[in-house]
């Protein structure tokens, strides 16, 4: 498979050997990889959130509360509380990253707090990560409650302190095109479409779990969002994210304009999926189509 360039306008770029990216947290900080998961099929991996508090749009963590609720064909997962600091992540986990043999995309989660304060907080984390060996890019999960304008300010501040490619992860909301335009104008190097949607579901004992939805049903939501963002013609690579559970889902993302695709909870349920997909005719189609794209264009778009 030819290399994919996920940040073509960036001076360093973000070249990937495969369009598949392990989504934020799926292998923790690199310490939580299912043994049966074949990383040779992947182009990069995204860390679990680094630094600060989970977004205000999600509930405060209660130590005793259940953190998951299964739904038909999916699961709602509550976010982790108080992600570790950048220093702790770099000290404890970064030494193991070279063993994974993949570029590391460090994930930052924005919170809906006053913009100057939040921008400074994220910039400090970004600056710390920028000087760390092995970190190839930053992914910024934007808080839907903060608004698209705040996203611009956050991106601009991070760019001031970090020269790594920056990939904002857009919330899957009806106004996603405003978010995409704001991020593009602020200098994003690529756009991740999108974050797992907010959801709530009761456990079997009736406790409500609030968090984010994962499962095959997320894919149509993300495909609709990707279609809208791709139609804007922003001249930025798009990373499709959400609901991938079959190789055909990946091909759909690519057909809809994604340059790369994130895979999430499928690797927990079926860690051998990547090996199986690599043996399919569709994988060969994927390799061929990626090869053609890398030769003719550096951005996503309708084919």
């Amino acid at each position: 498979m030819d290399r994919i360039e996920l940040a073509p306008r960036h001076k360093i770029g973000l070249p990937l050997r495969s369009p598949l990216i392990l989504a934020a947290g799926m292998i923790g900080y690199g310490d939580a990889r299912p043994r049966a998961l074949d990383l040779s099929a992947c182009g990069a991996w995204v860390t679990a959130p680094i630094g600060g508090q989970p977004p205000a749009s999600l509930p405060e963590d209660d130590a005793d509360a259940p953190r998951r609720a299964e739904v038909p064909g999916g699961v709602v997962l509550a976010p982790a509380s108080h992600p570790p600091s950048a220093s702790r992540v770099l000290r404890r986990y970064a030494p193991t990253w070279p063993r994974l043999g993949l570029p590391v995309i460090a994930h930052l989660a924005a919170a809906a707090r006053p913009v100057p304060e939040e921008a400074d907080r994220l910039a400090a984390i970004a600056q710390r990560l920028t000087s760390a060996p092995g970190v190839a890019a930053l992914e910024l999960a934007l808080d839907v409650d903060a608004g698209a304008d705040a996203a611009s300010a956050l991106i601009a501040q991070i760019h001031r302190v970090s020269d790594l490619p920056l990939l904002p992860a857009l919330p899957l909301v009806p106004a996603i095109d405003h978010w995409a335009i704001a991020c593009a104008k602020a200098g994003a190097d690529a756009l991740v479409v999108g974050q797992p949607p907010l959801a709530a579901a009761p456990t079997r004992l009736g406790t409500l779990v609030r968090g984010q939805l994962y499962g095959p049903a997320v894919a149509p939501l993300a495909w609709e969002a990707l279609t809208r963002v791709a139609a804007l013609g922003l001249d930025l690579p798009l990373v499709g994210a959400g609901g991938v559970h079959h190789i055909d889902d990946i091909l759909t993302y690519l057909r809809l304009g994604a340059t790369a695709v994130q895979i999430d909870t499928v690797v927990w349920i079926d860690p051998e999926c990547l090996q199986r997909w690599q043996a399919t005719a569709q994988w060969k189609m994927l390799a061929t189509s990626v090869g053609e794209d890398s030769k003719t264009s550096t951005t996503g778009g309708q084919r």
Partner: protein
């Protein structure tokens, strides 16, 4: 944890749950009492409902045979699993986690269980017997139907039973079974609800000057989702405020760290 192929070999009722018997399709992985297997409960890899794998502790571990404890057969994924005919392929990941640290020489071993906790501690009991230990099993259950009958417990085990309704054993709870056992155990292996942990700690404090680590271990029933420490759904709060992941650092934890 690695992918393990097995085939269904029937099931049997046990206490209030079920035991699912499996034969290994290839070689048996090394597993310890207190660890867990994540079992896929769908007919093929392309089915996604039920979505999550079910975490099941082994109740018996043999070279050619694995018996998994199913505490709640009403769960729709587990009901599907129990309905699989003998010979059906079963998709497992495991074993995962950290199990009971078992004695390697003869000792007095006290096994404590409340309700469905009898499943995870059962293989610790049989392993302790195999190591030449003296074993007492103290089990509290709501009714006699929820407890294994004495005929199913190894004859060498002293079996103490309490039921809430008095339908078998004494009427009472787990702690009504403990008088007379103070000072006897060299090791304790337990599967109890969180609310009982401080009571157990207090009972031990009453006769053991310093509990220390390694003396009493508890199987913690946590939500095991990914099995590798990524999803954060299985974090268990320790007495010092730390929150290790049950799938990596447990599900068996030292009581001295829990309370």
């Amino acid at each position: 944890m690695k992918a393990v192929a097995a085939v269904a070999a029937g099931s049997q009722p046990f206490a209030a749950g079920q035991i699912l018997h499996l034969h290994w399709a290839d070689s048996a992985p090394a597993a310890a009492p207190g660890q867990f297997f994540l079992v896929r409960c769908t007919p093929s890899p392309d089915h996604w409902d039920p979505y999550l794998r079910r975490a099941l502790p082994p109740i018996a571990l043999l070279p050619d045979h694995l018996a998994l404890w199913i505490a709640d057969p009403r769960d729709r994924g587990l009901a599907w699993l129990l309905a699989q005919p003998p010979g059906a392929a079963i998709d497992l990941l495991g074993p995962g986690g950290h199990g009971f640290d078992l004695p390697t020489s003869p000792a007095n071993v006290l096994i404590l269980a409340v309700g469905a906790g009898v499943g995870p501690v059962w293989p610790a009991m049989t392993a302790a017997l195999a190591a030449g230990c003296q074993v007492t099993l103290a089990l509290a259950a709501p009714t006699s139907d929820c407890a294994p009958p004495p005929s199913l417990t190894p004859i060498a085990v002293e079996y103490r039973l309490a039921t809430a309704d008095g339908s078998a054993g004494i009427r009472g709870d787990l702690f009504d079974l403990l008088p007379g056992l103070e000072g006897w155990p060299d090791r304790i292996y337990a599967a109890l609800p969180r609310a009982a942990w401080p009571r157990l700690h207090a009972w031990i404090d009453g006769w053991r000057p310093w509990m220390g680590t390694g003396f009493a271990q508890v199987f913690v029933d946590a939500d095991l989702t990914c099995g590798v420490g990524a999803c954060q759904t299985c974090r268990v709060e320790m007495a010092n405020g730390r929150r290790p992941r049950a799938c990596v650092h447990g599900p068996v934890f030292d009581l001295a760290r829990l309370t």
